[in-house]
Amino acid sequence: MILVIVLVLLVLGTLLFHFLSPWWFTPIASNWGSIDITIQITFWVTGFVFIAVNLFMAYAIYRHRFREGHKAHYEPENKKLEVWLTGLTALGVAAMLAPGLFVWADFVDTPEDASQVEIVGQQWHWTYRFPGEDGALGQTHPRFISEDNPFGIDPNDDAGQDDILIFNNELHLPEGKPVKALLRSKDVLHNFGVPQFRAKMDMLPGMVSYFWFEPTRQGRFDVVCMELCGMAHHAMRGQVVVETQEDFDQWLSSHPTFAATQSDSRADPERGASLYGVCASCHGQEGEGNRNMNAPKLSGLPPWYLERQLQFYKDGVRGSHEQDTYGQQMAGMMNTLSNRQAILDVSAYIAELPDSSAEATLEGDPQRGKRLFNNCSSCHGDNAEGNYATNAPPLAGQHDWYLKRQLENYKQGIRGSHKGDYYGTQMILMARTLHNEQAIDDVLTYINSL
C-alpha cells in the first residue's frame, strides 16, 4: 500500500521537479534551437510513457494486491495486446528519431558561407587560428611545434604565412555569421564545449574534426573542456566573446600573423639594461628580489613569462584588484616601460641576469609537500623548473614568501580572477587544492628543497 502511494508520489515529484527546478538549459546563443526542439519532443514522448507506465503499475499493485483465498488470473500471453504495444512503441520511437535525424543532417553539412576558425587544444589550454586574406589555413604537424612555432604550422606552406594566431584562450566571433570550427589537438583528447551553443565536438591528435554553428547572441561565454584530458581537465577553461563584426575585425587585426611571429623584431638587452635601472631599486641589481620591498626574484624567470606578466601589469590585468596592494605598486611602475618593445627589452635583459637561489624562510613538512606538489608538477615540472608548453613559470629558486602570497591571492581570487588573466584562472582552481596555510608551507618547503 505504501509502495503504491510512494510510486504515485515519485511520478508527481519527478514532474514537479522537472517543471519547478531552476536547473535547465542555459539560454541558447546559437542557431541550434532545433536541437532544443528535438529535446522538447523527446520530453513529451518519454514523459508520457514515464507517467503512463508507472501509474499503471501503481494501479496494478493496488488493484491486485494479495488477498487471502484470491487467485491470480492465468494468461500466458495476449498476442493482440503485445502487437499493439509494440506498434505504439515503434511509433513513439519514430516520432523522436525522425526529427532528430533531420537536425543531424543539418548538423553535419556546413553552409557554404561559413568562415573558418581553427581551435587547438592542448593540456590544458586553448589557442585559436584564423585564416588570413587567402581564407585558407596552412597545414600543420606536431613535428613543427616549438617555442617559436607553438601552433606547429608548416613553415613551407604559403597558405599558413598569413594565418592569424590567437595565443590565448579567448576567442572572439562575429554575431550572426556561421563559423566552421576545425578542431585539432596537440596531445590528447579534448572537447570544445560552450553550453550556450549546444554544439560541441571532441578534438583528437592525428586528425582534424569539425562542427559548425552560428552565434546569435552577443556576450561572453565560458568554454569548458568536455573530454577527460588528464589531471587539469577541470581547469581547462576558455572564453568566447560574441560581438559585432566591427569589434571582431578590430580584435582580429590586433593579433599577429604567423609570418609576423616568425620574423619578430628581436629584443635588445642593452636597452633593457638601462630600463632595468628603475626596477633594480626594488628587485635588486641582480634581480635577486627584496623581501623588505616585497619584490620577488626576477632572475631565472624566462622572458616569455616576464613579458606576459609585465604586459598584464600594463593592461591592468594584474595589480588592478584593490586588495592586491603590492601588485598595485608594480602596476604603478609600469609607466616606466612605455611600450611593448620596452617590455621585450627589459625581459631579455633580466633573462640574462645570473640566477641566484633565494634562502628558505618557511619550514613545513617536505614529505607532505612532495605529495601535494604531485599535482603542480604536471604543469610546473617535476623540479618546478617551469614549462613553456603549459604556460607554467619556474617556481624553484623563487622566494617562498612571495610564492606563498601569490598562492593566497589565487585562492582568494585576488590574482587570476581578472577576465584578461587567461592563465591565472587555472591557478585559482589549483591553488584551492591547498586547503590551509599548513599545506601551502609544506609545498613551498618542498619546492625550496628542489
Binding site: D154, D157, L182, S209
Partner: protein, 109 residues
C-alpha cells in the same frame, strides 16, 4: 557427429581436399610472384583465401557434416564482425582523408 557417422567419411575426400589446398596456396602465391596489382590482385587473393578457408572449415573441421543448428549458431555472429569491418574501413578512410587535407606530411621539418 557421433562415431557411427564419423567413420563414413572416406579417407579419399581428405586427400583430395588436401591436394586442392596445396594448389590454391600455389595460386595465391603466384598472384604475388607475378606481381599482379589492383583489382586483379585483390579479387584473386580474396577468392583463393575464401576457398581455402571454406575447404578447411567444411571438410577438415567436419563443419559440413554438422547439424544445421550448430552451423547456424556459429555463423550468424560473424555478421557483427562483418558490420564492424565495414564501419572501420569507412572510418579509416575518413581519418586518412582528414590527415591528408589538414596535416602536412610531405615537406620536411
Amino acid at each position: 557427429m557421433n562415431e557411427a557417422t564419423e567413420q563414413q567419411h572416406p579417407i579419399g575426400i581428405f586427400l583430395k581436399v588436401w591436394l586442392l589446398l596445396f594448389v590454391l596456396s600455389i595460386f595465391s602465391y603466384m598472384v604475388d610472384y607475378f606481381q599482379l596489382q589492383g583489382y586483379w590482385r585483390w579479387s584473386l587473393i580474396l577468392i583463393f583465401m575464401v576457398l581455402k578457408a571454406a575447404l578447411i572449415m567444411s571438410v577438415f573441421m567436419h563443419f559440413m557434416w554438422e547439424r544445421f543448428a550448430l552451423q547456424f549458431i556459429l555463423l550468424t555472429p560473424l555478421f557483427a564482425i562483418a558490420i564492424f569491418v565495414v564501419m572501420m574501413a569507412w572510418e579509416s578512410d575518413y581519418i586518412h582523408w582528414t590527415r591528408l587535407a589538414f596535416l602536412s606530411f610531405d615537406s620536411g621539418g
